[in-house]
C-alpha cells in the first residue's frame, strides 16, 4: 500500500494499473470531472455512514435537495446562506492561492460584524442618515476590522514565522469571546444577548422590499449582500488573474524561492494578502447582520468560516466557481438544520474535503493500464 511502484506478483492477469506523474496541464473538463467524481464518491460514503447510524440516506439527500432548491422561496433562502459563503470562499481562495492557510475567516467574519455594528451602535454616523451612508460606512468598517483581524497573524507570520494556521484559529476563539462581551455586557437589549434592532436605513434591501412594485418578489429574503459578493467575485478574479499583484501572489504560491529571486517581497505580500482575505471575510459578517439579523447577536454563523475553506478548495480557487459551489453548500447548510442527527452536514462537508484532496492525486498523476511484461 505504501509503494505505488509496480510490484511483481504471481497472478497471471496480463494488465496492471500504474500511476505516472502527469507532465502536461489538465484540460478544464478533466479536472472538473475529477472533482465531480470526488463529490459523488463522498456523497456515497456519507450515505453509507448515514445508514450505519440508522438514517435513510436517500430520504436525507432528497430532503436536502427539496428543502434547498425545491421552489423559488427556499432557493431564495439558499442564496441568503450562499452570500457569506461566496465572500468567505473568495477570502480563502486569495490566501490559499499563495499557500497561506487562513483558517481564521470565522473570526474575521465576527469582527466584520462587530465593525459594522459599531457604525450603528456607537454610533459612527449620525442617527437618521440616509441608507447609502449607513451601508457604505458599515461595509467599510466591516472590511477594516476584518482586515485588522487578518493583519495580526499576517504580521506574525512575516516577522516571526509564526504558523498562520494556529494563530488564525486562535484568533477565531478570541473574536467570538470579544463579540460575546459586547453582546452580553455593553449592547445587551433588555437582558437578551443581542443588541437593539438597527434602524431601517442600516438594513441591506431584500427582494421582498420591492414586492410593491413586483408582487412576485413577496417573501423572498435574498438581500443586496449578493451584489457585494458578485462585485467581489469580479474584483478578486481581476486581482488574481489579470493584475501584476495577482501574478506575484500566484508565483509565491507556486514557487516561493523563484519569487524571492525575482525580487518579489514575500513578507509584504503575506501581510497584504492576509488583510485582503480578512477584509473579504469581514464584509461577509457585515452582509449577514445588515441583511439577515439586523442586529449584533451571537450565533450568526453556522461555521461559514470553515465551510468557506471547502468551498474554495472545491472551486479550485476559481472565483467564478466559488459562486456555484457556494450555492450548493448554502443549500446544504439551509437544509442541514433540520436533519437529524445534527452532525450530518458537518460530516458530509468533511468527507467532501477528504475525497477532494485525495482526488488531487489524479490531477498530478495519470492512470495507465499497461500490459505486464515478462522480466
Amino acid at each position: 500500500m505504501t509503494d505505488l511502484a509496480p510490484v511483481k506478483s504471481n497472478n497471471r492477469f496480463p494488465f496492471q494499473i500504474r500511476f505516472e506523474p502527469r507532465l502536461g496541464e489538465l484540460k478544464w473538463w478533466q479536472s472538473l470531472l475529477i472533482s465531480l467524481i470526488a463529490l459523488i464518491v463522498s456523497l456515497l460514503v456519507g450515505a453509507l455512514l448515514l445508514s450505519v447510524v440508522g438514517g435513510n440516506p436517500w430520504k436525507a439527500y432528497s430532503h436536502i435537495a427539496k428543502a434547498s432548491f425545491g421552489d423559488i422561496g427556499v432557493f431564495s433562502d439558499t442564496m441568503v446562506k450562499a452570500i457569506p459563503l461566496i465572500l468567505i470562499g473568495l477570502a480563502c481562495s486569495v490566501a490559499f492561492r499563495m499557500k497561506l492557510w487562513n483558517i481564521g475567516a470565522e473570526g474575521q467574519f465576527f469582527l466584520g460584524a462587530f465593525g459594522a455594528s459599531i457604525v450603528v451602535l456607537i454610533p459612527i454616523v449620525p442617527d437618521g442618515s440616509p441608507a447609502w451612508v449607513y451601508i457604505s460606512v458599515m461595509a467599510l468598517f466591516a472590511m477594516v476590522f476584518g482586515a485588522l483581524w487578518g493583519f495580526l497573524p499576517g504580521y506574525l507570520k512575516a516577522r516571526f514565522n509564526v504558523n498562520e494556521v494556529i494563530s488564525t484559529l486562535m484568533m477565531n476563539y478570541i473574536a467570538v469571546a470579544w463579540n460575546n462581551f459586547f453582546i452580553y455586557a455593553v449592547w445587551s437589549e433588555g437582558g437578551f444577548q443581542m443588541s437593539k434592532m438597527f434602524p431601517r436605513a442600516a438594513w441591506l434591501p431584500r427582494l421582498t422590499d420591492f414586492s410593491k412594485q413586483i408582487p412576485e418578489l413577496r417573501g423572498l429574503t435574498t438581500h443586496a449582500g449578493l451584489i457585494f459578493a458578485l462585485i467581489m467575485v469580479v474584483v478578486v478574479w481581476f486581482l488574481l488573474s489579470r493584475s501584476r499583484w495577482g501574478y506575484e501572489i500566484r508565483l509565491i504560491g507556486d514557487n516561493p524561492k523563484a519569487a524571492n529571486y525575482a525580487g518579489i517581497q514575500i513578507k509584504k505580500n503575506v501581510i497584504l494578502v492576509m488583510m485582503l482575505s480578512g477584509g473579504l471575510a469581514g464584509l461577509a459578517g457585515m452582509s449577514e447582520i445588515s441583511g439577515v439579523v439586523h442586529r449584533l447577536q451571537g450565533a450568526i454563523s453556522p461555521g461559514y468560516g470553515f465551510t468557506g475553506i471547502i468551498v474554495a478548495w472545491l472551486a479550485k480557487l476559481n472565483p467564478y466557481l466559488v459562486v456555484i459551489v457556494s450555492i450548493l453548500f448554502g443549500g446544504l447548510i439551509l437544509a442541514g438544520r433540520e436533519i437529524q442527527p445534527s452532525g450530518i452536514p458537518k460530516l458530509i462537508q468533511g468527507i467532501i474535503l477528504v475525497s477532494l484532496i485525495a482526488s488531487d492525486y489524479l490531477v498530478r498523476n495519470r492512470v495507465r493500464i499497461i500490459r505486464r511484461t515478462e522480466d
Binding site: 500500500m1 447510524v53 484559529l169 486562535m170 462537508q349 477528504v354 485525495a358 492525486y361
Partner: protein, 322 residues
C-alpha cells in the same frame, strides 16, 4: 483561590494537552504535520464516553477511544504519505471528519447519566512532601501519573534508541534514511498512527477523567489546536512539552477560578463584580497560545533549529528533494 489547588488542577487539565502534544511530536518528528488532532481528540472523547456508558468499563472506553482515533489518523496517513497531498489541508479535513463523526454518534450522549470514571489515586509518602506532594501526587487520576511516565519514556525513545534515531532521520532527511534501508513510508504510517492513539487518549482523558461528560464540540473546545501550538513551542521535545502543557493547564484553571472569590490580593475582585469581564479571561488561553507560538517560532528562527527539516514535505521515492 489557592495557588496550590490551581496548580494541582492545572497538572490534571494539562495532562490532556500533554498527551495530544506528545502524539503530535511523534508524528511531526517523522515529518508529517498534524492538524487533525482536534478532530481525533473529539472522536476519542466521544468513543471513550459512549463505550463507558454502554459497558461500564472506563478502561475499555479508553482503549476504544485510542483505536478509533488511530484508525481515523490513517486517513491522513494515506492521503499525505501515499498520495503525497498537502498535509495542512488534509489535517484540516481530518478535523472536520472527526468532529462530524463524533457529533453524529454522540447525538444522544449528552443525556447519559453518571458513568464510572478512571480511578483516582494518591501516592503514599510522595504526597507528604509540602506543595509538590499536593500538586503532583494527591488525588490525581491515574492518567496523570501515566503522563509523568510517558514523558521520560518518549524522551529516551526519541533520543537514545535505534528506532528513535530512525524516526528522527525520517523526519530530517528521508532520502538518506531510505538509502540506509529504513522504510520511510512505513515509519511515517506508524507514527501517524501513534499520534492518533495519543490524541484518542487525550480525548478519553477529557471525557472520562478531567471534565467528565460529553458536551458535543465544547468537550475539547479547541484544546487540540492549543496542542498543535504547544508542539511548536516545545520544539518537538517531550520535556518542554510537559512544561508547556502544565502551564496551559494551570492557566485554563486560573481563568475558571479567578472569578470565584470576592477579594483578590486584598482588593475587590473586579472579575467577581463584573462577571462579563470573564469573556476577556476566556480569551487568555488562546491569546497565550499565540504568544507562545511567537516565542517558539522566534527562538527556532534565531537558533536555526527546531522543526524537522522534512516536516510537511511528502516523500516520493526517487525524486530529488530533502
Amino acid at each position: 483561590m489557592d495557588a496550590v489547588i490551581i496548580l494541582q488542577a492545572g497538572v490534571a487539565t494539562g495532562t490532556v494537552l500533554l498527551f495530544a502534544t506528545l502524539g503530535g511530536i511523534f508524528s511531526e518528528r517523522a515529518g508529517v504535520m498534524q492538524l487533525g488532532i482536534e478532530g481525533m481528540m473529539l472522536l476519542g472523547a466521544m468513543a471513550a464516553f459512549s463505550v463507558t456508558v454502554a459497558t461500564g468499563n472506563p478502561w475499555l472506553g479508553l482503549l476504544v477511544a485510542m483505536l478509533a482515533a488511530g484508525l481515523l489518523s490513517q486517513i491522513h496517513a494515506f492521503i499525505t504519505i501515499t498520495l503525497g497531498a498537502d498535509q495542512v489541508v488534509s489535517g484540516l479535513s481530518l478535523t472536520f471528519v472527526g468532529t462530524g463523526i463524533a457529533l453524529v454518534f454522540g447525538e444522544q450522549l449528552s443525556k447519559a447519566g453518571v458513568i464510572s470514571l478512571i480511578p483516582r489515586y494518591t501516592v503514599p509518602f510522595l504526597s507528604q512532601i509540602p506543595f509538590i506532594g499536593t500538586i503532583f501526587f494527591t488525588d490525581h487520576s491515574v492518567l496523570v501519573y501515566l503522563g509523568y511516565l510517558l514523558v521520560p519514556l518518549a524522551s529516551y525513545y526519541i533520543y537514545h534508541t535505534r528506532p528513535g534515531m530512525h524516526l528522527r532521520a525520517v523526519g530530517e532527511q528521508p532520502s538518506a534514511a531510505d538509502s540506509l534501508g529504513i522504510n520511510v513510508y512505513r515509519t511515517r504510517y506508524i507514527y501517524v498512527f501513534i499520534c492518533g492513539l495519543f490524541s484518542g487518549l487525550a480525548g478519553g482523558t477529557i471525557s472520562l477523567a478531567i471534565s467528565p461528560g460529553w458536551f458535543s464540540e465544547l468537550t475539547t473546545s479547541g484544546q487540540g489546536w492549543i496542542a498543535v501550538g504547544l508542539i511548536i513551542f516545545s520544539q518537538w521535545d517531550p520535556t518542554r512539552a510537559l512544561v508547556g502543557a502544565y502551564a496551559f493547564g494551570a492557566l485554563r484553571r486560573l481563568v475558571l477560578d479567578i472569578q470565584g472569590p470576592t477579594i483578590l490580593f486584598g482588593m475587590r475582585n473586579p472579575f467577581y463584580y463584573n462577571p462579563y469581564w470573564g469573556f476577556f479571561l476566556m480569551m487568555l488561553p488562546y491569546a497565550f497560545t499565540i504568544i507562545v507560538l511567537v516565542i517558539g517560532s522566534y527562538s527556532a528562527m534565531r537558533r536555526r533549529l527546531g522543526a524537522p527539516a522534512a516536516l510537511g514535505i511528502p516523500y516520493i521515492r526517487g525524486e530529488r528533494g530533502v
